[in-house]
Amino acid sequence: MELFIQRLFDGLTNGSTYALIAVALVLIFKATTLINFAQGEFAMLGAFLVLVGSTEWFGGGIPMWVAVVVAMLLTAVMAAGVERVLIRPFDPSDHLPLVIITLGLFLAINALAGIIWRFDPRSFPELFPSGTAFTVAGARLSWYGVFSLGTALLVMTGLTLMLNRTKVGLAFRAVSSNLESSQLVGIRTGPTLQFGWAIAAAVGTLAASVFVADPIRQLEPTVMGRVLIFAAAAAALGGLDSIWGALVGGLSIGLVQSLLVQYIGFIPSDMALATAVVVLLLVLLVRPAGLFGTKAVERV
Protein backbone atom coordinates (compact mmCIF):
# COMPACT_ATOMS: atom_id res chain seq x y z
CA MET A 1 0.00 0.00 0.00
CA GLU A 2 2.79 2.35 0.95
CA LEU A 3 4.56 1.64 -2.31
CA PHE A 4 1.36 2.15 -4.28
CA ILE A 5 0.70 5.57 -2.72
CA GLN A 6 4.34 6.51 -3.18
CA ARG A 7 4.01 5.62 -6.87
CA LEU A 8 0.85 7.73 -7.11
CA PHE A 9 2.70 10.70 -5.62
CA ASP A 10 5.66 10.22 -7.97
CA GLY A 11 3.36 9.94 -10.95
CA LEU A 12 1.44 13.10 -10.08
CA THR A 13 4.68 15.01 -9.53
CA ASN A 14 6.13 14.03 -12.91
CA GLY A 15 2.72 14.45 -14.47
CA SER A 16 2.64 18.11 -13.45
CA THR A 17 5.59 18.86 -15.71
CA TYR A 18 4.09 16.83 -18.55
CA ALA A 19 0.89 18.82 -18.10
CA LEU A 20 2.72 22.16 -18.26
CA ILE A 21 4.60 21.28 -21.45
CA ALA A 22 1.39 19.74 -22.81
CA VAL A 23 -0.51 22.96 -22.26
CA ALA A 24 2.22 24.87 -24.10
CA LEU A 25 1.72 22.47 -27.03
CA VAL A 26 -2.04 22.92 -26.73
CA LEU A 27 -1.82 26.71 -26.95
CA ILE A 28 -0.01 26.53 -30.27
CA PHE A 29 -2.11 23.64 -31.54
CA LYS A 30 -5.37 25.47 -30.76
CA ALA A 31 -4.35 28.40 -32.91
CA THR A 32 -2.52 26.68 -35.74
CA THR A 33 -3.30 22.93 -35.56
CA LEU A 34 0.45 22.48 -35.45
CA ILE A 35 2.55 20.58 -32.92
CA ASN A 36 5.62 22.64 -32.10
CA PHE A 37 8.34 20.02 -31.76
CA ALA A 38 10.75 22.67 -30.51
CA GLN A 39 8.54 23.45 -27.48
CA GLY A 40 10.67 21.34 -25.15
CA GLU A 41 13.89 22.93 -26.40
CA PHE A 42 12.55 26.45 -25.87
CA ALA A 43 11.81 25.32 -22.33
CA MET A 44 15.29 23.84 -21.85
CA LEU A 45 16.82 27.09 -23.07
CA GLY A 46 14.66 28.95 -20.57
CA ALA A 47 15.84 26.70 -17.73
CA PHE A 48 19.47 27.42 -18.68
CA LEU A 49 18.70 31.14 -18.57
CA VAL A 50 17.27 30.65 -15.08
CA LEU A 51 20.40 28.77 -14.01
CA VAL A 52 22.80 31.30 -15.49
CA GLY A 53 20.70 34.22 -14.28
CA SER A 54 20.50 33.02 -10.73
CA THR A 55 24.17 32.10 -10.46
CA GLU A 56 26.12 34.43 -12.75
CA TRP A 57 24.25 37.60 -13.76
CA PHE A 58 25.36 40.84 -12.10
CA GLY A 59 28.26 39.11 -10.39
CA GLY A 60 26.62 36.73 -7.95
CA GLY A 61 23.34 36.16 -9.78
CA ILE A 62 19.84 37.56 -9.29
CA PRO A 63 17.22 36.05 -6.96
CA MET A 64 15.88 32.71 -8.15
CA TRP A 65 12.27 33.68 -8.76
CA VAL A 66 13.29 36.94 -10.44
CA ALA A 67 15.51 34.86 -12.73
CA VAL A 68 12.52 32.62 -13.54
CA VAL A 69 10.35 35.60 -14.46
CA VAL A 70 13.14 37.20 -16.54
CA ALA A 71 13.78 33.89 -18.34
CA MET A 72 10.06 33.49 -19.04
CA LEU A 73 9.99 36.98 -20.57
CA LEU A 74 13.16 36.38 -22.61
CA THR A 75 11.96 33.08 -24.05
CA ALA A 76 8.56 34.66 -24.77
CA VAL A 77 10.24 37.41 -26.79
CA MET A 78 12.41 34.83 -28.53
CA ALA A 79 9.40 32.67 -29.45
CA ALA A 80 7.58 35.75 -30.73
CA GLY A 81 10.58 36.47 -32.96
CA VAL A 82 10.68 32.87 -34.20
CA GLU A 83 6.97 33.03 -35.03
CA ARG A 84 7.45 36.25 -36.99
CA VAL A 85 10.53 35.16 -38.94
CA LEU A 86 10.18 31.39 -39.39
CA ILE A 87 6.47 30.60 -39.10
CA ARG A 88 4.35 33.51 -40.33
CA PRO A 89 5.85 33.74 -43.85
CA PHE A 90 4.61 30.21 -44.61
CA ASP A 91 1.15 29.09 -45.67
CA PRO A 92 -0.55 28.08 -42.41
CA SER A 93 -2.67 25.41 -44.11
CA ASP A 94 0.37 23.53 -45.43
CA HIS A 95 1.63 21.68 -42.37
CA LEU A 96 4.59 19.73 -43.65
CA PRO A 97 6.99 22.67 -44.12
CA LEU A 98 5.98 24.03 -40.71
CA VAL A 99 6.56 20.68 -39.01
CA ILE A 100 10.00 20.50 -40.62
CA ILE A 101 10.75 24.02 -39.42
CA THR A 102 9.89 23.13 -35.82
CA LEU A 103 12.01 19.96 -36.08
CA GLY A 104 14.87 22.08 -37.40
CA LEU A 105 14.39 24.45 -34.49
CA PHE A 106 14.51 21.48 -32.12
CA LEU A 107 17.95 20.50 -33.43
CA ALA A 108 19.23 24.05 -33.73
CA ILE A 109 18.28 25.12 -30.20
CA ASN A 110 19.67 21.88 -28.80
CA ALA A 111 22.99 22.38 -30.59
CA LEU A 112 23.10 26.04 -29.59
CA ALA A 113 22.62 25.15 -25.92
CA GLY A 114 25.34 22.49 -26.25
CA ILE A 115 27.77 25.00 -27.73
CA ILE A 116 27.09 27.62 -25.08
CA TRP A 117 26.68 25.45 -21.98
CA ARG A 118 28.19 22.08 -23.01
CA PHE A 119 26.48 18.76 -22.55
CA ASP A 120 27.70 18.09 -19.01
CA PRO A 121 24.81 17.86 -16.54
CA ARG A 122 24.66 20.75 -14.10
CA SER A 123 22.86 20.84 -10.81
CA PHE A 124 19.98 23.27 -10.72
CA PRO A 125 19.35 25.59 -7.78
CA GLU A 126 16.50 24.80 -5.43
CA LEU A 127 13.24 26.39 -6.50
CA PHE A 128 11.01 25.04 -3.75
CA PRO A 129 11.58 24.13 -0.10
CA SER A 130 13.10 20.69 0.33
CA GLY A 131 11.86 17.91 2.55
CA THR A 132 8.58 16.10 3.05
CA ALA A 133 5.32 17.99 3.06
CA PHE A 134 3.27 15.17 4.53
CA THR A 135 3.15 11.42 4.89
CA VAL A 136 0.23 9.18 3.98
CA ALA A 137 0.41 5.57 5.21
CA GLY A 138 4.17 5.78 5.13
CA ALA A 139 4.36 7.27 1.62
CA ARG A 140 5.96 10.67 1.44
CA LEU A 141 4.86 13.59 -0.68
CA SER A 142 7.69 16.09 -0.93
CA TRP A 143 7.27 19.84 -0.91
CA TYR A 144 8.68 19.66 -4.40
CA GLY A 145 5.70 17.50 -5.44
CA VAL A 146 3.21 19.82 -3.76
CA PHE A 147 4.67 22.88 -5.47
CA SER A 148 4.90 21.15 -8.86
CA LEU A 149 1.22 20.29 -8.74
CA GLY A 150 0.39 23.74 -7.41
CA THR A 151 2.31 25.40 -10.25
CA ALA A 152 0.45 23.32 -12.83
CA LEU A 153 -2.94 24.16 -11.29
CA LEU A 154 -2.05 27.85 -11.07
CA VAL A 155 -0.90 28.02 -14.70
CA MET A 156 -4.03 26.25 -15.97
CA THR A 157 -6.24 28.59 -13.94
CA GLY A 158 -4.33 31.63 -15.15
CA LEU A 159 -4.54 30.55 -18.79
CA THR A 160 -8.26 29.79 -18.48
CA LEU A 161 -8.94 33.24 -17.03
CA MET A 162 -6.78 34.87 -19.67
CA LEU A 163 -8.60 33.06 -22.50
CA ASN A 164 -12.10 33.57 -21.13
CA ARG A 165 -11.99 36.96 -19.46
CA THR A 166 -9.68 39.18 -21.49
CA LYS A 167 -10.02 40.77 -24.88
CA VAL A 168 -6.77 39.27 -26.17
CA GLY A 169 -7.98 35.88 -24.93
CA LEU A 170 -11.24 36.29 -26.83
CA ALA A 171 -9.27 37.26 -29.94
CA PHE A 172 -7.05 34.20 -29.50
CA ARG A 173 -10.07 31.89 -29.24
CA ALA A 174 -11.61 33.57 -32.29
CA VAL A 175 -8.45 33.08 -34.35
CA SER A 176 -8.37 29.43 -33.21
CA SER A 177 -11.97 28.98 -34.28
CA ASN A 178 -12.05 30.76 -37.65
CA LEU A 179 -9.03 32.55 -39.07
CA GLU A 180 -10.78 34.29 -41.95
CA SER A 181 -13.70 35.59 -39.90
CA SER A 182 -11.19 36.84 -37.35
CA GLN A 183 -9.67 39.07 -40.01
CA LEU A 184 -13.16 40.23 -40.97
CA VAL A 185 -13.94 41.42 -37.44
CA GLY A 186 -10.71 43.40 -37.37
CA ILE A 187 -8.41 41.10 -35.40
CA ARG A 188 -4.76 41.40 -36.40
CA THR A 189 -4.30 37.66 -36.68
CA GLY A 190 -0.50 37.59 -37.01
CA PRO A 191 0.23 39.33 -33.69
CA THR A 192 -2.52 37.30 -32.00
CA LEU A 193 -0.87 34.02 -33.01
CA GLN A 194 2.49 35.47 -32.03
CA PHE A 195 1.06 36.16 -28.59
CA GLY A 196 0.15 32.45 -28.35
CA TRP A 197 3.73 31.44 -29.18
CA ALA A 198 5.07 33.83 -26.56
CA ILE A 199 2.76 32.58 -23.80
CA ALA A 200 3.53 28.96 -24.70
CA ALA A 201 7.28 29.60 -24.44
CA ALA A 202 6.91 31.35 -21.08
CA VAL A 203 4.85 28.44 -19.71
CA GLY A 204 7.47 26.04 -21.09
CA THR A 205 10.30 27.85 -19.32
CA LEU A 206 8.42 27.63 -16.04
CA ALA A 207 7.75 23.93 -16.67
CA ALA A 208 11.38 23.08 -17.42
CA SER A 209 12.57 25.06 -14.38
CA VAL A 210 10.15 23.18 -12.13
CA PHE A 211 11.15 19.86 -13.73
CA VAL A 212 14.90 20.20 -13.22
CA ALA A 213 14.43 21.76 -9.78
CA ASP A 214 13.73 18.22 -8.55
CA PRO A 215 16.81 17.35 -6.45
CA ILE A 216 17.16 14.02 -8.31
CA ARG A 217 17.54 15.75 -11.70
CA GLN A 218 20.18 17.84 -13.40
CA LEU A 219 20.05 20.29 -16.25
CA GLU A 220 21.57 19.39 -19.60
CA PRO A 221 20.59 20.26 -23.18
CA THR A 222 18.83 16.94 -23.80
CA VAL A 223 16.77 16.99 -20.60
CA MET A 224 13.47 17.95 -22.26
CA GLY A 225 13.60 15.47 -25.16
CA ARG A 226 11.83 12.69 -23.27
CA VAL A 227 9.50 15.13 -21.56
CA LEU A 228 8.26 16.34 -24.94
CA ILE A 229 7.21 12.80 -25.87
CA PHE A 230 5.28 12.40 -22.62
CA ALA A 231 3.80 15.87 -23.02
CA ALA A 232 2.70 15.17 -26.59
CA ALA A 233 0.99 11.98 -25.39
CA ALA A 234 -0.60 13.99 -22.56
CA ALA A 235 -1.83 16.67 -24.93
CA ALA A 236 -3.29 14.05 -27.30
CA LEU A 237 -4.99 12.27 -24.41
CA GLY A 238 -6.49 15.56 -23.24
CA GLY A 239 -7.75 16.44 -26.70
CA LEU A 240 -4.99 18.70 -28.09
CA ASP A 241 -7.05 21.85 -27.79
CA SER A 242 -8.17 21.76 -24.17
CA ILE A 243 -6.29 23.47 -21.33
CA TRP A 244 -7.74 21.27 -18.60
CA GLY A 245 -7.45 18.28 -20.90
CA ALA A 246 -3.70 18.91 -20.86
CA LEU A 247 -3.71 18.80 -17.06
CA VAL A 248 -5.74 15.59 -16.88
CA GLY A 249 -3.65 14.12 -19.71
CA GLY A 250 -0.36 15.08 -18.08
CA LEU A 251 -1.27 13.65 -14.69
CA SER A 252 -2.65 10.48 -16.29
CA ILE A 253 0.51 9.91 -18.30
CA GLY A 254 2.58 10.51 -15.17
CA LEU A 255 0.52 7.95 -13.26
CA VAL A 256 0.53 5.36 -16.05
CA GLN A 257 4.28 5.67 -16.37
CA SER A 258 5.03 5.30 -12.67
CA LEU A 259 2.51 2.53 -11.96
CA LEU A 260 3.29 0.41 -15.03
CA VAL A 261 7.00 0.43 -14.37
CA GLN A 262 6.35 -0.55 -10.76
CA TYR A 263 3.76 -3.27 -11.25
CA ILE A 264 4.37 -4.83 -14.61
CA GLY A 265 7.55 -6.69 -13.99
CA PHE A 266 8.72 -7.16 -17.52
CA ILE A 267 8.78 -3.44 -18.29
CA PRO A 268 12.28 -2.24 -17.50
CA SER A 269 12.30 1.34 -16.23
CA ASP A 270 14.14 2.36 -19.37
CA MET A 271 11.04 1.38 -21.31
CA ALA A 272 8.93 3.97 -19.51
CA LEU A 273 9.08 6.15 -22.59
CA ALA A 274 7.29 3.42 -24.53
CA THR A 275 4.29 3.67 -22.22
CA ALA A 276 3.71 7.19 -23.53
CA VAL A 277 3.80 5.92 -27.08
CA VAL A 278 1.35 3.14 -26.23
CA VAL A 279 -1.03 5.65 -24.65
CA LEU A 280 -0.67 7.86 -27.71
CA LEU A 281 -1.50 4.93 -30.01
CA LEU A 282 -4.52 3.89 -27.95
CA VAL A 283 -5.89 7.43 -27.89
CA LEU A 284 -5.50 7.82 -31.62
CA LEU A 285 -7.21 4.47 -32.21
CA VAL A 286 -10.05 4.63 -29.73
CA ARG A 287 -10.78 8.32 -29.30
CA PRO A 288 -8.96 10.49 -31.83
CA ALA A 289 -10.43 13.70 -30.39
CA GLY A 290 -9.03 12.87 -26.95
CA LEU A 291 -10.90 13.10 -23.66
CA PHE A 292 -11.82 16.78 -23.84
CA GLY A 293 -11.18 17.69 -27.47
CA THR A 294 -13.97 19.79 -28.93
CA LYS A 295 -13.60 18.57 -32.48
CA ALA A 296 -11.78 16.18 -34.73
CA VAL A 297 -8.13 16.98 -35.14
CA GLU A 298 -8.44 17.36 -38.88
CA ARG A 299 -9.98 20.65 -39.95
CA VAL A 300 -11.92 21.32 -43.09
Binding site: L170, V185, G186
Partner: protein, 237 residues
Amino acid sequence: MSQRVLDVNGLQGGYGPIQVLHGLDFHVAEGEVVVILGANGAGKTTTLRAVSGMIETSGSIELYGDQIVGRNPADIVRQGVAHVPQGRGTFPELSVEDNLRIGAYTRSDNEVESDMEKWYEAYPVLYERRTQAAGSLSGGEQQMLAVSRALMSRPRLLLLDEPSLGLAPLIVADLFQRFGELNKETGVTMLVVEQNAQLALGIADRGYLLESGSIVFEGAADALMNDDAIRKSYLGI
Protein backbone atom coordinates in the same frame (compact mmCIF):
# COMPACT_ATOMS: atom_id res chain seq x y z
CA MET B 1 -27.98 62.99 -54.46
CA SER B 2 -26.77 61.57 -51.16
CA GLN B 3 -23.14 60.94 -50.34
CA ARG B 4 -21.33 57.96 -51.81
CA VAL B 5 -20.27 55.43 -49.18
CA LEU B 6 -18.45 53.24 -51.63
CA ASP B 7 -17.12 54.24 -55.01
CA VAL B 8 -15.40 51.52 -57.02
CA ASN B 9 -13.66 52.16 -60.34
CA GLY B 10 -11.74 49.80 -62.61
CA LEU B 11 -11.59 47.12 -59.94
CA GLN B 12 -9.42 44.14 -60.87
CA GLY B 13 -8.57 41.20 -58.69
CA GLY B 14 -8.31 37.46 -58.45
CA TYR B 15 -6.41 34.60 -56.91
CA GLY B 16 -2.76 34.30 -57.88
CA PRO B 17 -2.45 34.13 -61.65
CA ILE B 18 -6.20 33.81 -62.16
CA GLN B 19 -7.89 37.13 -62.74
CA VAL B 20 -11.56 37.08 -61.75
CA LEU B 21 -12.61 40.73 -61.89
CA HIS B 22 -12.02 42.62 -65.11
CA GLY B 23 -12.45 46.27 -64.23
CA LEU B 24 -15.67 46.79 -62.29
CA ASP B 25 -17.29 50.19 -61.76
CA PHE B 26 -20.04 50.49 -59.16
CA HIS B 27 -21.04 52.61 -56.23
CA VAL B 28 -23.22 52.54 -53.13
CA ALA B 29 -24.78 55.69 -51.70
CA GLU B 30 -25.57 56.46 -48.07
CA GLY B 31 -28.54 54.46 -46.77
CA GLU B 32 -28.92 52.44 -49.96
CA VAL B 33 -29.33 48.71 -50.38
CA VAL B 34 -27.45 47.70 -53.50
CA VAL B 35 -27.48 44.17 -54.83
CA ILE B 36 -25.00 42.53 -57.18
CA LEU B 37 -26.59 39.63 -59.04
CA GLY B 38 -24.78 36.95 -60.92
CA ALA B 39 -24.44 33.24 -61.51
CA ASN B 40 -21.96 30.92 -59.84
CA GLY B 41 -18.43 31.94 -60.70
CA ALA B 42 -19.38 35.42 -61.93
CA GLY B 43 -17.12 37.02 -59.32
CA LYS B 44 -19.65 38.13 -56.70
CA THR B 45 -17.77 36.79 -53.69
CA THR B 46 -14.47 38.00 -55.13
CA THR B 47 -15.91 41.50 -55.43
CA LEU B 48 -16.78 41.61 -51.74
CA ARG B 49 -13.44 40.09 -50.75
CA ALA B 50 -11.73 42.82 -52.74
CA VAL B 51 -13.68 45.53 -50.91
CA SER B 52 -12.80 44.13 -47.48
CA GLY B 53 -9.12 43.68 -48.38
CA MET B 54 -9.01 39.89 -48.32
CA ILE B 55 -7.41 39.56 -51.78
CA GLU B 56 -4.87 41.42 -53.89
CA THR B 57 -6.64 44.07 -55.93
CA SER B 58 -5.89 46.92 -58.26
CA GLY B 59 -8.04 49.81 -59.36
CA SER B 60 -9.79 52.20 -57.05
CA ILE B 61 -12.01 51.55 -54.04
CA GLU B 62 -12.99 54.70 -52.18
CA LEU B 63 -14.75 54.51 -48.85
CA TYR B 64 -16.19 57.95 -48.04
CA GLY B 65 -13.55 59.31 -50.40
CA ASP B 66 -10.66 57.41 -48.76
CA GLN B 67 -8.67 55.08 -50.99
CA ILE B 68 -8.66 51.63 -49.34
CA VAL B 69 -7.03 49.47 -52.02
CA GLY B 70 -3.97 47.77 -50.55
CA ARG B 71 -5.06 48.15 -46.91
CA ASN B 72 -5.31 45.03 -44.80
CA PRO B 73 -8.70 43.70 -43.62
CA ALA B 74 -8.14 44.71 -39.98
CA ASP B 75 -7.71 48.36 -41.04
CA ILE B 76 -10.68 48.30 -43.40
CA VAL B 77 -12.89 47.01 -40.57
CA ARG B 78 -11.72 49.98 -38.50
CA GLN B 79 -12.81 52.27 -41.33
CA GLY B 80 -16.36 51.01 -40.98
CA VAL B 81 -16.79 48.02 -43.26
CA ALA B 82 -18.41 44.85 -41.87
CA HIS B 83 -18.39 41.75 -44.04
CA VAL B 84 -20.60 38.70 -43.50
CA PRO B 85 -18.83 36.10 -45.63
CA GLN B 86 -20.38 33.30 -47.62
CA GLY B 87 -21.26 30.42 -45.32
CA ARG B 88 -21.87 32.96 -42.53
CA GLY B 89 -18.41 32.84 -40.97
CA THR B 90 -19.51 32.39 -37.39
CA PHE B 91 -17.04 31.14 -34.80
CA PRO B 92 -18.55 27.68 -34.26
CA GLU B 93 -16.74 26.79 -31.01
CA LEU B 94 -17.43 30.15 -29.38
CA SER B 95 -20.66 30.89 -27.54
CA VAL B 96 -23.30 33.07 -29.18
CA GLU B 97 -22.42 35.81 -26.70
CA ASP B 98 -18.70 35.63 -27.50
CA ASN B 99 -19.56 35.76 -31.21
CA LEU B 100 -21.38 39.05 -30.63
CA ARG B 101 -18.64 40.38 -28.37
CA ILE B 102 -15.91 39.61 -30.92
CA GLY B 103 -17.95 41.60 -33.44
CA ALA B 104 -17.21 44.66 -31.32
CA TYR B 105 -13.50 43.86 -31.20
CA THR B 106 -12.49 47.14 -32.83
CA ARG B 107 -14.62 49.26 -30.48
CA SER B 108 -13.38 50.76 -27.25
CA ASP B 109 -16.51 52.62 -26.13
CA ASN B 110 -18.65 51.41 -23.24
CA GLU B 111 -21.86 50.76 -25.16
CA VAL B 112 -20.93 47.26 -26.31
CA GLU B 113 -23.12 45.61 -23.68
CA SER B 114 -26.14 47.76 -24.53
CA ASP B 115 -25.69 46.99 -28.23
CA MET B 116 -25.67 43.30 -27.39
CA GLU B 117 -28.93 43.78 -25.48
CA LYS B 118 -30.35 45.43 -28.57
CA TRP B 119 -29.62 42.44 -30.81
CA TYR B 120 -30.88 40.05 -28.16
CA GLU B 121 -34.12 42.00 -28.16
CA ALA B 122 -34.32 41.98 -31.94
CA TYR B 123 -33.57 38.26 -32.15
CA PRO B 124 -34.74 36.61 -28.91
CA VAL B 125 -33.51 33.22 -30.10
CA LEU B 126 -29.95 34.52 -29.81
CA TYR B 127 -30.66 35.49 -26.20
CA GLU B 128 -32.12 32.08 -25.42
CA ARG B 129 -29.01 30.44 -26.82
CA ARG B 130 -26.41 32.95 -25.72
CA THR B 131 -24.32 30.39 -23.80
CA GLN B 132 -24.49 27.73 -26.53
CA ALA B 133 -21.76 27.19 -29.07
CA ALA B 134 -22.61 29.09 -32.25
CA GLY B 135 -22.05 25.92 -34.26
CA SER B 136 -25.10 24.36 -32.62
CA LEU B 137 -27.49 26.96 -34.10
CA SER B 138 -29.56 26.27 -37.20
CA GLY B 139 -28.48 27.80 -40.50
CA GLY B 140 -31.01 30.63 -40.30
CA GLU B 141 -30.10 31.41 -36.69
CA GLN B 142 -26.43 31.44 -37.60
CA GLN B 143 -27.15 33.91 -40.39
CA MET B 144 -28.91 36.22 -37.93
CA LEU B 145 -25.99 35.82 -35.55
CA ALA B 146 -23.50 36.59 -38.32
CA VAL B 147 -25.39 39.74 -39.28
CA SER B 148 -25.78 40.83 -35.66
CA ARG B 149 -22.10 40.21 -35.09
CA ALA B 150 -21.22 42.32 -38.13
CA LEU B 151 -23.47 45.13 -36.87
CA MET B 152 -21.79 45.01 -33.44
CA SER B 153 -18.90 46.87 -35.05
CA ARG B 154 -21.33 49.74 -35.84
CA PRO B 155 -20.36 49.67 -39.50
CA ARG B 156 -21.00 52.37 -42.06
CA LEU B 157 -21.23 49.71 -44.77
CA LEU B 158 -22.48 46.15 -44.40
CA LEU B 159 -21.38 43.56 -46.97
CA LEU B 160 -23.54 40.43 -47.22
CA ASP B 161 -22.30 37.48 -49.26
CA GLU B 162 -25.12 35.17 -50.43
CA PRO B 163 -27.10 35.18 -47.22
CA SER B 164 -29.63 32.77 -48.76
CA LEU B 165 -27.09 30.03 -49.40
CA GLY B 166 -28.08 26.67 -47.93
CA LEU B 167 -31.24 27.94 -46.23
CA ALA B 168 -34.82 26.77 -46.73
CA PRO B 169 -36.97 29.10 -48.90
CA LEU B 170 -39.26 30.16 -46.04
CA ILE B 171 -36.30 31.08 -43.87
CA VAL B 172 -34.69 33.00 -46.71
CA ALA B 173 -37.87 35.03 -47.25
CA ASP B 174 -37.99 35.88 -43.55
CA LEU B 175 -34.28 36.76 -43.56
CA PHE B 176 -34.62 39.22 -46.44
CA GLN B 177 -37.62 40.81 -44.81
CA ARG B 178 -35.45 41.38 -41.74
CA PHE B 179 -32.65 42.86 -43.85
CA GLY B 180 -35.15 45.29 -45.35
CA GLU B 181 -36.39 46.28 -41.89
CA LEU B 182 -32.83 46.65 -40.67
CA ASN B 183 -32.02 49.05 -43.47
CA LYS B 184 -35.16 51.12 -42.82
CA GLU B 185 -34.79 51.19 -39.04
CA THR B 186 -31.06 51.74 -38.66
CA GLY B 187 -30.29 53.31 -42.02
CA VAL B 188 -27.26 51.03 -42.44
CA THR B 189 -25.94 50.98 -45.99
CA MET B 190 -25.83 47.50 -47.52
CA LEU B 191 -24.09 45.85 -50.43
CA VAL B 192 -25.56 42.39 -51.00
CA VAL B 193 -24.43 39.78 -53.51
CA GLU B 194 -27.03 37.12 -54.24
CA GLN B 195 -28.16 34.48 -56.64
CA ASN B 196 -31.72 34.69 -55.39
CA ALA B 197 -32.51 37.69 -57.56
CA GLN B 198 -36.18 38.06 -56.75
CA LEU B 199 -35.80 38.32 -53.00
CA ALA B 200 -32.70 40.46 -53.19
CA LEU B 201 -34.26 42.92 -55.63
CA GLY B 202 -37.29 43.08 -53.36
CA ILE B 203 -35.33 44.95 -50.70
CA ALA B 204 -32.82 46.69 -52.98
CA ASP B 205 -32.78 50.25 -54.28
CA ARG B 206 -30.45 49.51 -57.15
CA GLY B 207 -28.72 46.52 -58.68
CA TYR B 208 -25.86 45.43 -60.86
CA LEU B 209 -25.59 42.31 -62.96
CA LEU B 210 -22.21 40.62 -62.96
CA GLU B 211 -21.18 38.16 -65.68
CA SER B 212 -17.70 36.62 -65.90
CA GLY B 213 -16.13 39.37 -63.87
CA SER B 214 -17.70 42.31 -65.69
CA ILE B 215 -20.78 44.38 -64.97
CA VAL B 216 -23.18 43.92 -67.88
CA PHE B 217 -26.24 45.76 -66.59
CA GLU B 218 -27.01 48.30 -63.93
CA GLY B 219 -30.15 50.10 -62.88
CA ALA B 220 -32.88 50.64 -60.35
CA ALA B 221 -34.19 47.48 -58.73
CA ASP B 222 -37.50 47.82 -60.61
CA ALA B 223 -35.70 48.13 -63.92
CA LEU B 224 -33.76 44.92 -63.29
CA MET B 225 -36.89 43.18 -62.14
CA ASN B 226 -38.67 44.14 -65.38
CA ASP B 227 -35.86 43.54 -67.82
CA ASP B 228 -36.72 40.62 -70.05
CA ALA B 229 -33.23 39.15 -70.35
CA ILE B 230 -32.72 39.25 -66.59
CA ARG B 231 -36.16 37.84 -65.92
CA LYS B 232 -35.31 34.90 -68.14
CA SER B 233 -31.81 34.22 -66.84
CA TYR B 234 -32.08 35.02 -63.15
CA LEU B 235 -35.69 35.17 -62.10
CA GLY B 236 -36.87 32.14 -64.00
CA ILE B 237 -40.16 33.78 -64.95
